[in-house]
């Protein structure tokens, strides 16, 4: 693997080492203070180099590494952060204008059984200036390949679907959930953030956001103002964000509830194309989002803090999934046609979030609950907890559990019956249907000899959609209409 390292990674690795040596001999100090024997650095370095190589090969992120003094001063890094809560009392150790940059990088693989695979690289640069200002920049790259459910139901017969572009078809064998294998997308996301502590009581946060993929562009701004009370034990924050998204689906936007056309039903490609184009609107469209949030953070005692927040999100514009269809079935459950889905162009979402974090002598535990509700009828309960156990001062293990339960949107339909009048809005996208989901994860993290921190996370995520009471007519009764989705998540993280 080392032989395949890119020049970027090699330079980055060299830079890290040089930087470590340049900084007042901290390497020796860390080694001594952590009780690391002479034989261990080679394993640690090998891990470090392997991690660099993996990151640079898969995400092409050139890591310009700089390390900070966290290892020698365990509270050094988060003093900056703790300052948010302890603005007047916290004594920050960094007083010079050119504090070292902090770099966090992670590489994530998300692998669904028989479906989508996502590789995502994330690179975060944090630049503290003095002890009152922090600039942050983030780059995210992700690529998606594989298949995703197109919304149609399984059938006894083999099914054929026209691709979203109108060029070609794909076939689904009898009994199988129809999956569209057309999707291959790459996304780039850039964001910047400026945090400033204006006085012992006031601080602010401002950010810019840009995300670009083949058929979708999102641009956003966000601002938050924070006020501390009660010897900085209480903090109230008010935030808002605005996003403007441009949607330009492959093959154009389908006309809502129009029928999919097939090449085989026409004598010539020209005739097919003329009919296909009638189901499409070519011009791109947009979506706007306004988010508002109010948050309260309260230190309860020396070991515990609690956060409470309320979010309101108003969306307007195109929210239909242009690649999803619904099966229109007859009394025997046999598909007569596939209709392109249709969703409302307004949505008002609200959520209430409660979080608490406890310091234990051997680690940390946290607990979160979220209730969400929107005017599409989708509501959810989420419970999440993490338990971290510090085996040594440089090595920890963590357990992560998450449970999610969702109630379907009022217009969610697993299929449509041909005898009934067509509704104005309908979607068979299981993601807005009834669902239970579980996550079980473990993570281990350790500090390398040069102060770099590495972590490895492995999680299992399962979604179990369930019926909202629709009667499975005819042949649908013996098909799996709500298949579970199983995914493995693996993440490698590095902090310098």
């Amino acid at each position: 693997m080392a032989a395949e390292r890119s020049p970027g990674a090699a330079v980055a690795a060299t830079k890290t080492v040089n930087k470590s040596k340049a900084r007042t001999g901290t390497g020796t100090k860390i080694g001594a203070s952590l009780g690391i024997s002479a034989s261990e650095p080679s394993i640690a370095e090998a891990l470090s180099i392997a991690s660099f190589a993996l990151l640079s090969m898969t995400s092409s992120v050139a890591i310009a590494a700089q390390r900070d003094s966290v290892a020698e001063n365990p509270i050094g890094r988060d003093t900056q952060f703790a300052a948010v809560i302890t603005t007047d009392e916290a004594v920050t150790s960094d007083t010079d204008e050119t504090d070292p940059a902090e770099i966090d990088a992670a590489l994530l693989y998300y692998l669904e059984q028989d479906r989508v695979t996502v590789a995502e690289g994330i690179f975060n640069l944090k630049l503290p200036v003095g002890d009152k200002r922090v600039y942050e920049g983030k780059l995210v790259l992700d690529t998606l390949t594989g298949s995703s459910a197109n919304g149609a139901v399984p059938q006894d017969e083999r099914q054929t679907f026209t691709r979203p572009s109108g060029n070609g078809e794909y076939n689904i064998d009898s009994g199988n959930t129809p999956l569209d294998d057309t999707f291959k997308d790459t996304r780039v996301q850039l964001s910047g953030n400026w945090a400033e502590i204006w006085s012992p009581d006031w601080s602010s946060n401002h950010g810019l956001y840009l995300s670009r993929e083949y058929d979708y562009t999102s641009m956003g701004i966000n601002s938050a103002l924070e006020r501390s009370f009660n010897k900085s034990n209480t903090q109230l924050s008010l935030g808002m964000a605005y996003y403007y998204d441009l949607v330009d689906p492959v093959g154009g936007r389908p006309v809502a509830m129009s029928k999919m056309v097939f090449r085989d039903d026409f004598d010539s490609q020209t005739e097919f194309r003329t009919e296909f184009d009638k189901t499409r609107q070519i011009a791109s469209t947009d979506k706007q989002t306004v988010d508002l949030s109010v948050g309260l953070t309260q230190i309860i005692n020396r070991y515990m803090l609690v956060q409470l927040s309320y979010n309101l999100s108003s969306l307007k514009g195109y929210m239909t999934d242009p690649y999803k269809v619904l099966s229109l079935v007859d009394a025997s459950g046999t598909s007569e046609a596939y209709l392109y889905e249709s969703r409302p162009d307004e949505r008002l979402k609200q959520s209430f979030y409660l979080f608490s974090k406890y310091a234990l002598s051997t680690g940390v535990t946290d607990l979160a609950y979220r209730y969400s509700h929107d005017d599409w009828g989708v509501s959810s309960h989420t419970f999440e907890t993490r338990y971290r156990y510090n085996f040594t001062s440089t090595f920890f293990g963590q357990l992560h559990l998450r449970y999610y339960r969702q109630e379907a949107a009022s217009f969610y339909r697993a299929f449509l019956n041909s005898g009934e009048e067509l509704p104005e809005f309908a979607s068979a996208d299981y993601r807005i249907g009834n669902m239970n989901a579980y996550t079980l994860g473990i993570k281990i993290g350790h500090s390398l000899v040069d102060g770099t921190k590495a972590s490895y996370r492995l999680e299992y995520y399962q979604q179990d959609p369930y019926s909202n009471g629709e009667q499975a007519t005819g042949q649908l009764a013996h098909h799996e209409l709500y298949p579970s989705i199983k995914a493995i998540i693996f993440q490698l993280g590095l902090s310098f």
Binding site: A105, N230, S293, I299, L312, G363, V364, I432, Q463
Partner: protein, 76 residues
């Protein structure tokens, strides 16, 4: 919308109540050692949380809550 108004009203009450009630909670400046621990920082797992938010945003019908819902992408 009635649900929304009621929720906002009860939230406003809750915030006011908390601010008064919270005056008795908390620690003195010299008792913040636990909160200065790196593993107690609220952003100690920032990248994990960002990545998780992206996964759940793409795979589930509701999102956000922890902070502002974050930027859009075509994944949902």
């Amino acid at each position: 919308m009635i649900f929304g108004t009621e929720l906002i009203r009860s939230l406003a009450f809750l915030v006011c109540f908390s601010l008064t009630a919270c005056a008795g909670l908390g620690v003195e400046p010299w008792q913040r050692d636990q909160f200065a621990r790196e593993d107690m920082a609220l952003d100690s797992e920032k990248l994990d949380l960002t990545l998780d938010d992206h996964i759940y945003f793409s795979k589930e019908g509701t999102s956000g809550g922890r902070a502002l819902a974050g930027g859009g992408c075509g994944c949902n």
